[in-house]
Amino acid sequence: MGRYAAGRLLLIAPVLLGVSIVVFLLMHLAPGDVTSTLTGPMASPEARAAMRLTMGLDKPLPVQYAKWLGHLLQGDFGFSWVHKRDVGEIIFPKFANTAILALASALLAYLIGFFAGIVAAAKAYSTVDRVIMAFVLIAGSTPLYWLGLILVFLFALIWRIFPATGMTSFIDGGGPLDVLEHLVLPAVASALPSAAIVGRMTRATMIEVLSQNYIRVARAKGIRRSVILRRHALRNALPPIVTVGGMELGYLLGGVVFTEVVFAWPGIGNQLYSSIIGRDIPIVQGAVLLIAGAFVLINLGADLLNAYLDPRTRTAEGGRGG
């Protein structure tokens, strides 16, 4: 297990390097450049050229990349000319807010999806199962941003139970309870589509496991149904569920732009969105890097957890072939 984990950790380095190349190139393929945004429409071409010189934009791409990567490795994400602040100063606190939202919705998604899937599998092909699966199907096809708006309309505008936007209140806000109150709607909105995926996966895996011979043997020995479900079936059904769960946490990070824009949550997705609109390239680069880095680490975590749960997956490829 230790050797497997070390091998997987070593593989992370080239992946992250690839991530940095993609992010760097993506930003340099963008039409228009930051100097025209910064100097304004009235600026002379000479002023822009001078700006490009100060920012090092006149150098060849590989040189710019090497310089950028060098800074990155020292924890320097660059400087936002729009905000006149270091990128790291801006994106790390935002990322912490996103982590709160992503963890809360992941927790909700796992709880709902896991239990719905187990109940559906235990009563497979019954009415209960059909109702749960219908919900799963609909939740899986529902746009996050639309669901968010519906929740805002019902729970914030009509029934006034939860606040519609933001993370804290202006007046005596900021405490943990205040944040929790603001967290409910965005967490639920981003959790439901993920819960659908976790639910479908849990159901499918559990039904497969429940049809195995050792379950039949356990049943023949007269072991109670609840004990079989918990002790025999669940443990063997866990690895694929963990994989999907890890992927879901990762994809929550992708969908976080929608949730945070709808609910004005002060996180990395919201920041990424406003920086894209404002063409603040260093922040876009930093935010994308941070999200992709977290995504890679979450997938690694899920793989390691799987290797722990199921020794058969401890192969060189990490049990998920290309």
């Binding site: 746009p143 941003y145 708006l149 805002v152 589509p193 993920s194 992709a292």
Partner: protein, 299 residues
């Protein structure tokens, strides 16, 4: 977002094959499944309405025809009016043109490109395969939704931008499926037999590999179309799509935001339509899988 996970987990595993000879029996098998048939009818209806928008839409999509925020049923408008007094039903019909296009076009284009790249990589193998797959691997380190948003964000807002963004985000996923399928087809005895019989490499690719790879990819792609329409509408929702006053369903949801309290119907209907169309694509994909794979047919 669930879109992307289904992209990874929804791939069909059975080997399917498309030929002209079995199209008839495939259609009969498809038509037997009532859910897929209903889904197909619904989708054709929506598509027909969108294509014939100038003839079937009751009003002009950009003109104020009623009081602002008129509720459904008021002033003779079945689905009410939006914040600018425009007919919601009319705008849904016109919006379908863009929304369906951003679901279908990039997915279809990505499928065609993936078939080329994936078969190339999988069948040729060696360093070609290695270079292509390591390059695509870099994209798997990003959530699909993030790739689409960033690509759409750095280009100028517009229809083409959304199509390009989804195309790029999707390409690695379909290519991987094509490659895996091509690899397993390559190992089949009938390929060896064809080679022994003296068939040229191109004949083998064209006559034997392609037909056996195409079917699972079509099934996968159909399911993806609904999800990519949800994603594409999301990009429009973020303002990265066609500029106003033209609107697809995602833009309509976004426009409804400002009048959410007094006129929730402006937001509800376009979203509902997105859900229904995405579901329809899903059912059609399921039906196709059953129809194209004789082993999974019920009777």
């Amino acid at each position: 977002m669930s879109v992307a996970v289904a992209v990874r987990t929804g791939a069909p595993t059975g080997r399917l094959r498309v030929t002209l000879a079995n199209l008839g029996s495939a259609w009969r098998a498809y038509a037997r499944d009532r859910a897929s048939l209903a889904a197909l009818s619904f989708l054709l209806l929506v598509a027909a309405a969108a294509v014939l928008a100038p003839h079937v839409a009751p009003y002009d999509p950009y003109e104020m025809v009623a009081l602002r925020n008129a509720l459904p049923g008021e002033e003779g408008l079945i689905l009410g009016a939006d914040g600018d007094g425009r007919d919601v039903l009319t705008r849904l019909i016109w919006g379908g043109r863009i929304s369906l296009l951003i679901g279908i076009a990039p997915t279809l284009l990505a499928m065609i490109a993936s078939l080329f790249v994936g078969i190339f990589a999988g069948y040729l193998g060696g360093w070609v395969d290695l270079v292509i797959m390591r390059f695509l691997d870099m994209f798997f380190a990003f959530p699909l939704v993030l790739v689409a948003i960033v690509v759409a964000g750095i280009l100028e807002p517009g229809l083409l931008t959304i199509i390009v963004a989804i195309f790029i985000a999707l390409l690695p996923y379909i290519t991987r499926l094509v490659r895996t399928t091509a690899l397993s087809v390559k190992a089949q005895p009938y390929i060896e037999a064809a080679r022994a019989g003296g068939a040229s490499p191109w004949a083998i690719l064209w006559r034997y590999v392609l037909p056996n790879v195409v079917a699972p990819v079509i099934v996968y792609t159909t399911t993806l179309m609904g999800m990519m329409m949800v994603l594409g509408s999301g990009l429009s929702f973020l303002g990265l799509g066609v500029p106003p006053p033209v609107a697809d369903w995602g833009t309509m949801v976004s426009e409804g935001r400002t009048v959410l309290k007094n006129a929730p119907h402006v937001t509800v209907f376009p979203g509902l339509l997105i859900v229904l169309v995405a579901l329809a694509f899903g059912f059609i994909g399921d039906g196709l899988r059953d129809a194209l794979d004789p082993r999974s047919r019920k009777r």
